[in-house]
């Protein structure tokens, strides 16, 4: 099994392996097999298209958690210019699971805040696997309030398996930190755009997820409890996670229907990790468009709309 491919992508992996083999042969010999390679590449493309045209909720969860999926820092360096990272919550520490700072989007100053899972073992440990503690959310809060003072829009990138469930998190009031962020974001006097780039898990996600516009990348997921957690509670086994994912409707398609997600941002064929630059390019264009629209609105109107939207959640 090729680990760069997910279980349901293995037929694609086999084709790609064959193509690679042929390319090596082609280099060694005089025989022209480019025609054969092109045929196989075409087949691989069509196979990917067909597999990706009908992904189950659980398969999307897997794409969202793909080990090669681009994370917040990958987007920050590609979408924004001139990023200066700012550290610390001024009370306790600096949480590496949340990256934040000032940057420019198409020349305009913005505040960027993203949850970062980390790549590779050491980096993952350094980032606590993208599970923020209270000081992470309080750093985010500090930066958002700063953005309000300096009239900078806030752009958040959501990607977390959840707020960190640990003794220290509880001791320092993780619940209060999450609650406070949502409360303040509901009235922050500057445009806020939130984008779920990977995994939006529950309170840990919505703690930086309240704003004027909510994007989801095509294969990102957003849920109130992880499918495994849900399966564990209801079926008493994580084996039922696929059913739980289906039942909860964790994908952008369902969440757009529910009026929770505003916009689904398409990913390259086979997921964002297949072409990070292209994905970042699309994201940049969309964010710039959305920001232009939001900045064109009078602030009072923007805030009234944000509030009404919050109040309407769940109304039929």
């Amino acid at each position: 099994m090729n680990l760069n491919y997910l279980d349901f992508e293995q037929p694609i992996a086999e084709l790609e392996a064959k193509i690679e083999e042929l390319q090596l042969v082609g280099n060694d010999n005089e025989i022209n097999i480019s025609e054969e390679i092109a045929k196989l590449q075409d087949k691989s493309q069509r196979l990917t298209e067909s597999i990706y045209s009908d992904l189950s909720a659980w398969q999307i969860v897997k794409v969202a958690r793909h080990p090669q999926r681009p994370y917040a820092v990958d987007y920050i360096e590609r979408v924004f210019d001139d990023f200066d990272e700012l550290h610390g919550d001024r009370h306790f520490g600096d949480d590496k699971a949340i990256v934040g700072g000032v940057a420019r989007l198409d020349g305009q100053p913005v505040m960027v805040i993203g949850e970062e899972k980390g790549r590779g073992v050491n980096d993952k440990i350094y980032r606590n696997f993208g599970m923020p503690k209270p000081e992470g959310y309080r750093k985010a809060l500090r930066l958002m309030e700063m953005a309000e003072r300096f009239r900078m829009p806030v752009l958040t990138l959501i990607d977390t398996p959840g707020a960190y469930p640990g003794i220290d998190s509880e001791e320092r009031g993780i619940s209060e930190a999450i609650a406070r962020n949502m409360a303040v974001m509901s009235r922050l006097r500057t445009p806020i755009i939130c984008t779920v780039i990977g995994e939006g898990s529950s309170g840990g996600a919505i703690a930086i997820g309240v704003g004027d516009w909510l994007n989801m990348l095509q294969y990102a997921t957003y849920f109130v409890i992880s499918p495994e957690g849900c399966a564990n509670i209801i079926w008493k086994t994580v084996d039922k996670a696929p059913q739980a994912a289906e039942a909860m409707g964790v994908t952008s398609t369902v969440l757009e229907e529910l009026g929770i997600v505003d916009e689904t941002i398409p990913e390259p064929l086979g997921g964002a990790h297949r072409d990070i630059d292209a994905m970042a390019g699309t994201l940049k264009t969309r964010l710039a468009d959305q920001l232009g629209r939001l900045k064109g609105m009078p602030l009072d109107e923007l805030l009234a709309k944000r509030f009404d939207r919050l109040m309407s959640y769940g109304n039929t």
């Binding site: 707020a163 001791e171 609650a179 406070r180 919505i206 849920f223 959640y313 769940g314 109304n315």
Partner: protein, 295 residues
């Protein structure tokens, strides 16, 4: 079993009988196992007279203990749960709802009531834990929000007694959004200078802890109540070690600065009234001061 066996096994049967607490008039304290006489227990606000354990009580009972008798008006009772996702696991969510409704006589897990405490007008919201673990879905969030709007409109304090396992997963992301919704309306109260008191009663976890329960101008907990974001099992699984004794209990919350005070159920009415009187400038009803607050 023959009559002979019955006689032979007699002593065994008798032993079992002596440990059983009769239904109805007697109640067994879940903590110290003392048999408690129901009328006595009720006089004591359902707090065990032997070990002071605060026994979980229903929302209506809570309102009866807390509010002044008389003028009360229920808020948003017309808001009922909606199964937007047609959620189905081993059972249909719809069926789970109707059995919870049958069992509790309530439409969902939060009751909101306009009333007064020692003459001080306020809006009280109470979670019904017996309804689906007091979980917050659309109806709970909406009822809470409408209750807060009544507070805003009449400029009277809001109080919430929470008892909940957290967000209701059968309503998936709609539940999660109730966290943002309730937090947003509380921010309005804050801007308007209308007090909000949050009282945590055992237990308060997850999405409710991480929204409306922790946002009080004043946060209170009943003695021994457990409150936190992640449940103890989840934390133990994550960190692979045993949790310290008393972790996430009221005393722990007070020690770590999450709450202002621990208040005994029998003192709740007077304490909240005293606090709100100072925050609002509203005078309290004197004659009620020494009245029996517990029915």
């Amino acid at each position: 079993m023959s009559w002979l066996d019955r006689i032979r096994k007699g002593p065994g049967i008798r032993t079992r009988k002596s440990t059983t607490v009769p239904e109805g008039l007697w109640h067994k304290c879940p903590r110290c196992s003392s048999p408690l006489y129901r009328p006595e227990l009720e006089k004591n606000a359902d707090v065990c007279p032997k070990c002071d354990h605060h026994i979980r009580i229903g929302a209506r009972r809570r309102l009866d203990i807390f509010l002044d008798p008389g003028d009360r008006e229920e808020i948003a009772s017309d808001v009922v749960p909606v199964d937007r996702l047609k959620f189905k696991d081993v059972k249909k969510y719809k069926d789970r709802l109707s059995s919870a409704q049958k069992q509790t006589g309530e439409k969902d897990a939060l009751i909101a009531m306009r009333g007064s405490v020692r003459g001080l007008p306020l809006v009280a919201t109470v979670f019904e834990f017996a309804f689906h673990g007091g979980s917050m879905g659309y109806a709970v969030g909406e009822r809470f929000t409408r209750a807060a709007r009544v507070s805003l409109e009449h400029r009277i304090p809001l109080i919430c007694f929470s008892a909940t396992g957290g967000a209701r997963m059968q309503e998936a992301l709609i539940s999660l959004m109730q966290m943002a919704k309730t937090s947003a309306i509380l921010e309005r109260l804050k801007a308007e200078g209308i007090p909000y008191v949050s009282v945590m009663t055992d237990p308060v976890y997850g999405g409710v802890s991480a929204s409306l329960a922790m946002l009080g101008d004043i946060n209170i907990a009943e003695p021994g109540a457990r409150a936190g974001f992640a449940g103890p099992n989840i934390i133990e699984q994550t960190i692979r070690q045993k949790l310290p004794k008393g972790f996430q209990r009221s005393e722990f919350l007070l020690e770590h600065g999450a709450i202002d005070m621990i208040v005994h159920r029998k003192d709740m009415r007077d304490t909240v009234a005293r606090l709100l009187s100072k925050l609002t400038g509203h005078a309290l009803n004197e004659e009620a001061e020494n009245a029996e607050t517990v029915t």
